[in-house]
Structures are given as structure tokens and as C-alpha cells.
Symmetry: C2
Subunit: 547 residues, 2 copies
């Protein structure tokens, strides 16, 4: 018996499911409904088309309805919105631009409606200069508006991934951009002690950041949008991009009997089956499991959406395939800087009451003696058994590689000891004999084995110099160029000679530039009976945390 399968949503999750379904079952009847005019477009490329890095619009169309039909024999119905599901009768209601409203029955239904940009009900939100960015028409509208209005100034509301990408791309077009972010820092998946690198990069490229402040209203002044902020500050701009997050596009599911989560996400099991057996759901619209901590989460990313589409197709075709959760691996280009992260950050873990350790390293992305070497910063978060909980990195080269390595170890439930043992590709242009990821593993292992007690950059804020001797072990030149308040200076290479200058009564906190010399000094002193701690990440992490 041939199956009849309907798919709602024709982009990342939906189109992937459709293609896999056809490969698995040449006989099935497959109908794909897409509300918009386009399927299979490159959502992730939209900001770069606005900025001009991507020049040709049709490069964004990875597949067209015609091409997809020709290759996969799928009945693709664009401009067709599914407006209701009658799960009892296995049928959906479709509102089509050309065919009007009609019903279509199914044996299996795959839901991949994605999410829509949040447009909060604040005064003035309907101003024609205010846009969101989710699809091709949004992009066309923004591009067109920029050209028609000769936009010079823009405000991006929201400093998430999309907001920052848009800000970068508007800047590339010569537009002066301000980002307004309600939280104290942008890019929430990163902890605040790391994300300052991104903030610095944005500012260095002329982007103004308004942090810890939020928009209370918009108003018009001769076509220019005035933005009122909670702080009573006012901004003005020709163009506003709202990028304050997304909400699942599941309105049409509400009355279907399919279980939804508290924020409207579709609840699925690990086969991506909804509460109704023959209905599957994937992508931004679903609730999934946090791979690291096992809790429910919602992570709207293209990698998971595409993989889930394939897994749903497998299950419909009788191939046992499970989705084991999302770990939130993500990455962003910010001019020449790259930031990437995977797993949980401190905030998530603290909120969940999960105990963790933190270390920072700042090794060179490739051998120091080979041209172009520059440090990258890695923050590694792990538990007392050494299990890796998360990592964040920033740098100009090799950041993607290191986060991918760590993401891989997380997926395979590995530990910091596994990091030390990874045999990664080394030649001078690419890495060092001990790769930065090995190095992070060594440092973490030293913490776990009690070989190095660490203090964190934030501990410097509460340091009590009556009980702690703070020692800078860098060179004299480094110390003179700037040091932490209250630090005395004893270079690492003279600690053995000057050991009498260390306090026997106080705890000694050491720091150097990145943590390595501090660790070497700590090894000497602790073996001599001093009570020593080392500032992990050193002055570099201290400055990042206090940017």
C-alpha cells in the first residue's frame, strides 16, 4: 500500500524530510505545503545577501519547486498555508492562493513550520521603517527599503545571532548601526566573560552598543524612527531591525489535540513523533532535549532542523532512528572575529543547580613561530568527573575547529582526559604539537586532580588583600603596561630566588598573562608548602571579564 505523506513547511526541516522520504520510498505520495512563495531557501544566508557578500539573490534558493519536483517527484504546493489539522480524520485544511480552502488527507504528517520573528506589541511597532528578518520577502523588503530611503542609520533591536549578523552586514553597506540589547551582554549562548571579545570587535567596527536597556516605543519624525528606551535614552534611525528572538509558528496546531509545550512548541519523543502517532514534527517548532543536561529545551538551529527532518522520514519509513538531543553548537562571524560555543554555559548550569568547574586558555591557533599566529580564547566547563559540559571560544582562526572537536567529545560523552589524548592534525600552519584542545584538557585535568587550584576572573572583584597576597609573575614590562590593582610583582623566573618575599600567612593568588606561568609558579610554591591559587586565563581573561 502506498503511503500518503503531507509535509507542512518547505524549508530546512520540511524539505529535508521530503527528500529523504522520497529516497526511502519511491512509491509514496508526498505533498509539501509551503505558505510562502519559496521553498528550500538559505535562511542563514539572508543577512549576507543584505550586506552584499552574497550578490545573487537566486543563490539563496537552494531548491525551487520545479527542480525539487523534477528530482524527487514531490507535489510541492507553495502559497499554501495549512490552517488546521483534523487528527481524528487524518486530514489537514489548506488555504491556497490559487485553489482556495480545501482538505487533504494523510497517512503520515510531518510538521516543520519553523518559528516566526517576535514583534512585541509596543507603541509605534507598525512604523513602516521597522522590519524583521526570516525569509526571502523580508529580505527583499529590507534591501529595497535601504536603497529607496538611502538608509544611513539603523538600530538593531536584539543582540542575538541574527541581530549581530544583521548589524555586521548593515555596517558593511556603510550604514551606522546601534544594537540595543536588554540583557547586560549580547549573544546569550556565551557567558559575559567571553562575549566581551565580540562586543569589542563590534565597537572597533563602529557599531554602537546599548546594553541592559530595552525599547519602550517607536515614533515617527518626518519618516525617521525615534526609538524610546527604558533608560529614557532616545535613538533615531532610518531603519529598525527587530531581532529579539523567535516563537514557534504553531498557531494552526492549537486545536489539533497535538500536545504543545508552555511556549507553543510541539512536544515530541525521540523518534520525533508528536503525541499523535502518525504525526511527526521537527525543526524550530519543537521542544527537544538538551543533550548535556537532559532537560527540555528549544534551540532553533539549521543543523538540528535538517537532521531531524531526515530522522522523521526514517521513522515513517520504518527505519529506527532517534534524535538524541541538541547541544546548541553554534558559531558566528563578526567581521574578522569568530565566536563559537557548544553545550551549556555557566548561566544555564547555575540555573539548573548543576555544579561545574571552569578554566580558560589562550593558546595560539597555530605554531607561534609560523606567520600569522594569534591566540584564541577557550573557556571549558566540566564537572567533577571530568565530563565536559560546555565550551566557548573566540579568535581569528581555528575557532570553528576547536569547538567542533569539543562538540564531538561532548557528543561521545567524553571527558577532559579524552581531550588530552586527542591526536589532532599538526603541522605549523594549522596547530601546535599540543593542540589548544589538548591544552584545555591538560589544564582542566590539573584542576580536577588538585594539581592546580584556580581562582576566576570574577574573584578579583572580591579579593581581600588582608588575607590574600596577589602576585603578578609576568615580566617587568608586562607588569608596567598594566596590572591588577594590589598586585606585587615577582617574575616567574625569579620565584626560586625570591621565595622569601612570598607570604606564609596569607593565601597567595598568582597571575600571569594567560595562566601558564602562574601555574608553573604555583607548582613551585605549593610544593614548598605555600597555599597558592592561580588565576585561570590570567590577565587576559581578567581584562575580558572586565571589558
Amino acid at each position: 500500500m502506498t503511503k500518503k505523506i503531507l509535509i507542512v513547511g518547505g524549508v530546512a526541516g520540511g524539505a529535508s524530510a521530503a527528500a529523504r522520504l522520497r529516497r526511502l520510498d519511491e512509491e509514496a505520495e508526498i505533498i509539501l505545503f509551503e505558505r510562502g512563495e519559496f521553498i528550500s531557501f538559505a535562511n542563514c544566508g539572508l543577512p549576507y545577501y543584505i550586506g552584499g557578500a552574497i550578490q545573487e539573490r537566486n543563490k539563496l534558493l537552494v531548491q525551487t519547486p520545479e527542480a525539487m519536483h523534477a528530482r524527487f517527484n514531490i507535489d510541492i504546493r507553495v502559497n499554501s498555508e495549512v490552517i488546521g489539522i483534523d487528527a481524528k480524520n487524518n486530514s489537514v485544511k489548506v488555504a491556497s492562493e490559487t485553489r482556495g480552502v480545501y482538505d487533504e488527507t494523510y497517512d503520515f504528517l510531518v510538521l516543520s513550520p519553523g518559528a516566526k520573528a517576535i514583534r512585541p506589541k509596543i507603541p509605534g511597532i507598525e512604523h513602516p521603517g521597522i522590519f524583521t528578518l526570516r525569509n526571502i520577502p523580508d529580505t527583499d523588503n529590507i534591501k529595497d527599503f535601504i536603497e529607496r530611503k538611502l538608509v544611513k542609520k539603523a538600530v538593531v533591536v536584539g543582540g542575538g545571532f541574527v541581530g549581530v549578523e544583521v548589524a555586521e552586514n548593515l555596517t558593511e553597506k556603510g550604514i551606522a548601526v546601534t544594537i540595543v540589547e536588554a540583557a547586560p551582554h549580547i549573544l546569550a549562548p556565551f557567558d559575559s566573560d567571553m562575549v566581551t571579545r565580540a562586543e569589542k570587535e563590534l565597537q572597533e567596527h563602529g557599531i554602537a552598543l546599548v546594553l541592559g536597556d530595552s525599547v519602550t516605543g517607536f515614533s515617527d519624525r518626518n519618516g525617521i524612527v525615534e526609538v524610546a528606551l527604558k533608560s529614557e535614552k532616545r535613538l533615531e534611525a532610518d531603519l529598525i531591525i527587530l531581532a529579539i528572538g523567535v516563537t514557534p509558528d504553531t498557531g494552526f496546531i492549537k486545536d489539533s489535540g497535538i500536545e504543545l509545550g508552555p511556549k507553543g512548541h510541539i512536544v515530541v519523543n525521540d523518534k520525533l513523533q508528536t503525541s499523535i502517532n502518525n504525526i511527526y514534527a521537527v525543526g524550530d517548532a519543537i521542544e527537544t532535549v538538551d543533550f548535556v543536561n537532559g532537560q527540555k529545551t528549544t534551540i532553533p538551529l539549521a543543523g538540528p532542523a535538517n537532521k531531524q527532518g531526515r530522522i522523521a522520514a526514517d521513522n515513517i519509513c520504518g527505519i529506527a532512528s532517534t534524535y538524541k538531543g541538541t547541544q546548541g553548537t553554534s558559531i558566528i562571524k563578526i567581521f574578522s572575529l569568530t565566536g563559537a560555543c557548544t553545550g551549556s554555559n555557566e548561566r544555564t548550569l547555575a540555573n539548573s543547580g548543576i555544579p561545574f568547574h571552569v578554566i580558560y586558555v589562550h593558546p595560539n591557533a597555530h605554531a607561534a613561530y609560523y606567520p600569522g599566529a594569534a591566540p584564541l580564547s577557550i573557556k571549558l566547563i566540566f564537572d567533577s568527573e571530568g565530563k565536559i559540559l560546555g565550551a566557548q571560544a573566540f579568535g581569528y582562526e581555528g575557532v570553528d575547529k576547536r569547538i567542533d572537536d569539543i562538540a564531538t567529545v561532548i557528543r561521545l560523552r567524553g571527558t577532559v582526559t579524552d581531550l588530552t589524548e586527542l591526536e589532532l592534525a599538526y603541522a605549523p600552519p594549522y596547530s601546535s604539537a599540543k593542540d589548544p584542545v589538548n591544552m584545555a584538557g591538560y589544564v582542566a585535568e590539573n584542576v580536577l586532580r588538585g594539581r592546580m587550584e584556580v581562582v576566576l576572573p570574577r574573584d578579583m572583584n572580591t579579593i581581600d588583600l588582608n588575607r590574600v597576597q596577589l602576585v603578578d609573575v609576568r615580566t617587568e614590562e608586562e607588569y608596567k603596561n598594566g596590572h591588577i590593582e594590589g598586585a606585587v610583582h615577582i617574575p616567574v623566573d625569579s620565584i626560586r630566588d625570591r621565595i622569601s618575599e612570598f607570604s606564609k600567612d596569607k593565601e597567595i593568588w598568582l597571575y600571569c598573562k594567560v595562566g601558564l606561568r602562574g601555574y608553573i609558579a604555583a607548582s613551585v610554591l605549593s610544593q614548598k608548602g605555600y597555599k597558592v591559587k592561580n588565576l585561570t586565563g590570567g590577565y587576559e581573561s581578567f581584562m575580558l571579564a572586565n571589558f
Copy 2:
């Protein structure tokens, strides 16, 4: 009781062991003997200093005896060769330039003498224009010779990693280079069907390759070296670099009672202990275990050497730490191309009688619609349980990242299914929603699950068109630009309409450019009852294998 530890060899393994020993034990007496003038130098950087990418010679000196002493309080004795070991009396004999010959006792001994470049006894080998490259004096000599003699032409004997790096760097200096390699292809860790990409890149940069031929003798003609080859061909050059491999530098160990392997490598257990309890050995001089197949192997690489140095130090200081084997992860820059590999290649597996599967993919290194996208080629080798045995890759971007991901999965004993589930960092400048590594996993899984039967490029050489219908499913334009002999042309998008043109009697072999369209076509046909196989890697792999 303070330990007295002697270390033989002051570079990758030896210096790493020394530093870690000191960090673990502030009281130990640590003496490091180095035969040469320099310690801790960047062996791996030497070719780039010759080529000029690295400009300052002292960048190659990662540590100096003085700096290392200041930091680690280690007694560093350069120009001091250990010429014998008296294991019964725990003492070594040292020949020092300044102190003459003397004995030094130890509680523990760490051997990291490395390897020396092979200089075969062939006629004329003593010609002053013939060099090997292992250390700083070698490098100085080569650089000096090039400048003094205004070298215009060079022959590099041996197409291994060092040979190819030297060839690249001499070319960068404007010298015309010929590589002579006895095997049919260069860079033995790669299989011949992949390494052709490297050979092409070298030729495109003007380097001549003489493959499957070997040097039988050298002679002088007015200061120019004439190279006689087995094929009777003759080459001439101002400069010859011998890079035909290394042999463990263990002559001084011969009479010590320490067990050596058949080729003079030191035999160690997983604590890196030799056959004598208080003597450890690390680096290029030891025999180690192949992490993938468990057999004995010798892999002279810096990553393993540095890690082993640390592990030996751990064990001496009572920290249980084991070395679990080397998987041969390595990488090479060849002008703008990168080649990297990890695990076993086909040759090794075939020699060991280990059965395996092979697939190729050629996905873009990052999203096709984002500027600069270019394909990389990955060959994945795995067993019938899905366990990954090895991988090789070539490309212009992101090759290091993909091989590191796969190397990580190999380390954690993962499978091709793990590859499909890796959640890697995706934004358009870095990757695709399904990363190339995920893609390799999918393709491999399809093979294992019997969803796609594949033929290999080499099978095209033995194709019997009486029994096989060979079908090119690419576009007409692609077909016209070149196709495999004997192929008929039916584009993938018309197979459903033209199904009657497929043979019911013959086996059908399909191919496209990279394997994807062939696979889609195969899915259709096999479900319709045709007996189909798909050329893995497509025309791209076919051309690579037949370069």
C-alpha cells in the same frame, strides 16, 4: 628522598618530559643531555625557515638552555652526547665537548633521542651538495649553501611529508625542484586515489615529479650533482635534499640490555617504560601501538612525542598515565592545498588482512551560496560494524577541521553513525547545516545498511560492458565535457520518464559528479527492481584515481 632523573635528547619528547617533571617535582635533580648545541627547537618549522615564510632564525628556538634553566631549574648540558648506558649500575656515559667523557648516575632515565635522517650508502652520497634536514645546523647548512652557490635547481629525493614541504619551500625561493619518489605515489600515508590531488598541486606549481623511480648514484660535474636513476634517467641539480625517511637514533642503546625492535626502535609498555623498569623512552625512537588496529607501529610525529614526554614524566612521579597508541593523524600544506589523514589507509588494512569499506564525498567546505565555497574531498574507511578505521582529505579550506573531527571520533572508538549525529558549528562562512563529516557518515551508513551498493573508481578499470550498463546521470553539459568510456547518458531528473532505457538484464552502474545524484537515481531504480550500483565519489573520484 629526592629523585635524580636524566634525560637523553632535548627537543620534542625530552624537553616536554623535563618541563613536566619539574612541575610535578620541585625537588628532583633533573639533568638533560643534548648532543647538539640547541634544545627545544621547532623541527617542524625548519622547511619554512628555508623557504622564508619564517624569517627570524631565533623564532625556531622555542626554548634556550638559559631560559629553560631559569624557568625550570633544569641542568641542561648541550654538546653532550650520551654514548652508553650501564643499566646495572644506573649510570650513563657522556661525551661532552667541554668536560670530556664522564659517567652520571640516575634513579630514572628518560630516552628521547629521536631519529636521524637516512643516508643510504649509494655511490657519490658524500657529495657536498647533498643534504639531509633534521636540525638547526642542517638548516643553516642548506640555507648557506643555497645562498653561496646561488642554487637554481634542486632534486628532493623522497616524497614524504618532509620531502614535499622542502620542495614547496625551495620553490617559494624560486628554485626549480624535482621530487624523486621510489613508490608509485608520494606521501605514503595517503592512498594513491587521493594523493593525486597533492601531485597535481605540486605540478601546477612547477615541481616535477619522478615517480616509481629511485636514485642509484650521484656524481659531480663541475660542482653540479648528477643524479642517476634506476630507470637510467638522469637529473642534475645544484642541491640535493635526501628525505627518504628516518631511522631511530638508538645506536648508543645497543649494549644496554634495553629491548629494541627489529629496526632499532625502543620497545616500551603503555606507561612508556622500557624493558628496564626505571628507564622510560618516548618519541621517534620508540615502537608504539597502532591505535586503530592494535598492531606495532612506528610513527615519528611531534604530537605523540610531546604527549609521550608528559606521560613518561607522570609515571616517574607516580601519576598513573598511559599512552594508548598512535593513530597517525597528520597534515601537510602544499601551496594553497591542504592534505590530512588519520587512522589506517587501504594499504595498511589490506596488508593486515582487515576487511573494510570505502566511500568518498566531495562536499563544499562551507555553504555553497556563501563566497569562496570550494569542495573538499574526503575518503572514509570503516568496517562492517561501522567502526571508523581511517580517513583522508584534500581541499583548500576546512580540511584540518574535518580530519580532526574524524580523528576525535576514532579516538573515542566511534562509528559512522556517530558521524551522522555530530552537532558541529554551522553558519554559512564555516560549514553547511549538514557538515561534510555528517555527510560522510550518512553515505557510509547507507552503504552499511544496504541502502546503496557502491563500486569504487578502480572497478571502472575492469568493467565488463557486456554485463554492466554504465550510466552517466549528470547534465548534458557535464557529460559532453568528459565522461567515462562506455557510459550512456540519462540525467537524474529524467530517469523516471526514461526508465525503459535502463537494462533489466544487466547490472546498472551509475555515476554523477560526486555520488549524490547517482545515489538518488540508484534509490529510484533499486526500488523498481533494477540491480544498481553507484560509483562512490563519482566522476571526481574517478578522475582523481586516474590522474
